[in-house]
Symmetry: C2
Subunit: 350 residues, 2 copies
């Protein structure tokens, strides 16, 4: 539990590319920010879903992977020293003051107990917090992070294990191929004989199977056997006509069923939603609740397209709007980073 | 005169960063484009006003000069083979068809006689076409590009000349310093004793003056003397109390009074303007005239900020809107460049 309440101009919910760039745009306006994200690192969907795959439509960035985009943005926002709070979600949001220019209008608290007082909240939560789709086998949760894994953090811990991988997407295949050389055995179980993965990966896995270095089954994991509190075997119901049951030795079970977005507590903040998206004013990106803004894939307005570059634009306009909300009656003019001494000062260039 | 009429999906007016990125977004939608610009090269204001000065607020581009931004964008749009038509402005715009899905709804003709038939026009003209502010001395225009220059294209042609430079900004000082070593003489004439230029340049010029290698006068050019059709001398009215008249030998007269934007023929296209900016629908960036769109600094809508990144967003949404205009009744879904085979195909990656 963190007993210190962080006082900041803005709390940004979500550390994806748009949340990161939001730090930059607030910084140019002289506003401080803290960023909260459910994931263990910055990057959001980009780093979670396609860290190594190229993106081509970021303006003036001919090609970059999700991870590279995140790194570039982290470098760009460095001058503004935003504090990040990972592995936690905002659970409490309370209105402390009705005044729009009040810098402590909101009180927030996260699942990890981190507390904030801030003048505005910006929801940059993409499709919501991305959580792995769970394996639905009664009792299997007990082995989470010991023998059941939804992500590979340290490949080394999977060495010399009988590994069963569930799934048929890129993550499942890529990890089957990557872990094979050090594993005792690799078995991949997919629901169908169709993989949703790069063709090269499919060929590689098929080649490993032919060489007897990996096994592929079509079926669904439906039960397990444990011994002295340790997971020992996984039962797979095969997709043959007989619905045969196959027991596979499983020291480690790696599940890659994809990520599923959930909005979590944001749904209870009294905002106007439209098809699970947050309605915003197109000039300010403020939600139906004054002081709360939404940018990026989570918002909706006439013409909205879920493009990263649109999120960047929205972040810029939201920063101007918040600055003007904090200083009522004052019109904030555009100052260019190329020529404005104030901008240079805020960017730490002077 | 060009007798071939270019048939294209879209004509983009303006080759600044937003016009360039517009080519990209149209390309992703499978739409072809021709680009017209009054300047002799791509880049617009960025390349014209601050080619060498860093920009810091392009998302995921930590720092780049105006020229670098242009180069990155030119590289990014390469797959789409847009044709550029420089040194000309659109002078004629005629409506050929009232049908929004008609790919030859508009006929355009430029000042250079280039002709187009297209389905949509996108105005990405920034503050209008940037043209050098002219020296107002009766009859001086006759020497344009022979002895009177508003830009330096080939520094070599100014060697061994008596050069008079008018102006007090970066261009005036930078060229005075750069041309001094090869010039017969360099005289800089500025309206006041205050320069609007980098301090380092001012110091350098003052040093050259002290060394007797350059001359600085405070005054205004007001007349000239010619001999056998050649400009010989420029008269400067000094800012001293006596308003003395000073005759300076001038083989070459270089004028750097800055650039002034003008809208030109666009003002006569029947569009709705608001303070010299073109009003647009915020969802499509269509102007009051169907089939004509406006993106970047030239448009206005609630919340508008003149930011390059907003222009990028507008270009993306305009491309979707035009695609849907061409294919009525069909909703164009977002396809991501990271995962969509169709996008990869259009980007020439397959």
């Amino acid at each position: 539990m963190n007993t210190q309440v962080h006082k900041t101009d803005v709390v940004i919910v979500g550390a994806g590319p748009v949340g990161l760039f939001q730090v930059f745009e607030l910084g140019l306006q002289g506003l401080s920010a803290h960023v909260v994200d459910a994931l263990p690192q910055a990057g959001g969907q980009c780093s979670e879903l396609y860290p190594d795959k190229p993106i081509y439509d970021i303006p003036a960035v001919v090609e970059c992977t999700g991870d590279e985009l995140t790194q570039k943005l982290l470098q760009q926002i460095k001058p503004f020293n935003a504090q990040f709070h990972f592995n936690q979600e905002v659970q409490v949001l309370e209105q402390r003051s009705g005044s729009a220019s009040e810098r402590a209008a909101f009180y927030l608290k996260t699942s990890a107990g981190t507390e904030f007082e801030c003048g505005a909240v910006i929801i940059a939560a993409g499709g919501g917090s991305f959580t792995p789709v769970k394996l639905r086998v009664d009792g299997i949760d007990a082995f989470l992070d010991q023998q059941l894994f939804y992500r590979v953090v340290d490949p080394g811990i999977h060495a010399d294990k009988n590994i069963v991988i569930l799934g048929g997407g890129d993550s499942a295949l890529d990890w089957a191929i990557a872990l094979q050389p050090t594993a005792r055995s690799i078995t991949l179980v997919n629901r169908t004989d169709r993989f949703r993965a790069a063709e090269a990966s499919v060929s590689k896995l098929r080649a490993l199977e032919e060489q007897g270095k990996a096994t592929i089954h079509m079926g669904v994991a439906s039960a397990f056997r444990e011994e002295a509190g340790r997971l020992r075997e996984i039962m797979v119901t095969l997709r043959d006509e007989a619905r045969s049951e196959l027991w596979l030795a499983a020291d480690h079970l790696l599940v890659f069923f994809g990520m599923s977005p959930k909005l979590g507590e944001i749904e209870n903040w009294g905002l106007e939603f439209e098809r699970r998206l947050i309605g915003v004013d197109q000039a300010t990106f403020q939600t139906s609740r004054p002081g709360i803004y939404a940018v990026g894939d989570i918002n909706i307005y006439p013409g909205k397209r879920k493009l990263i570059l649109s999120g960047f634009h929205e972040a810029a306009l939201a920063a101007y709007a918040i600055k003007e909300m904090f200083e009522p009656g004052k019109k904030v003019a555009v100052q260019y980073t190329t020529t404005s001494p104030k901008m240079h000062d805020r960017l730490g260039l002077t």
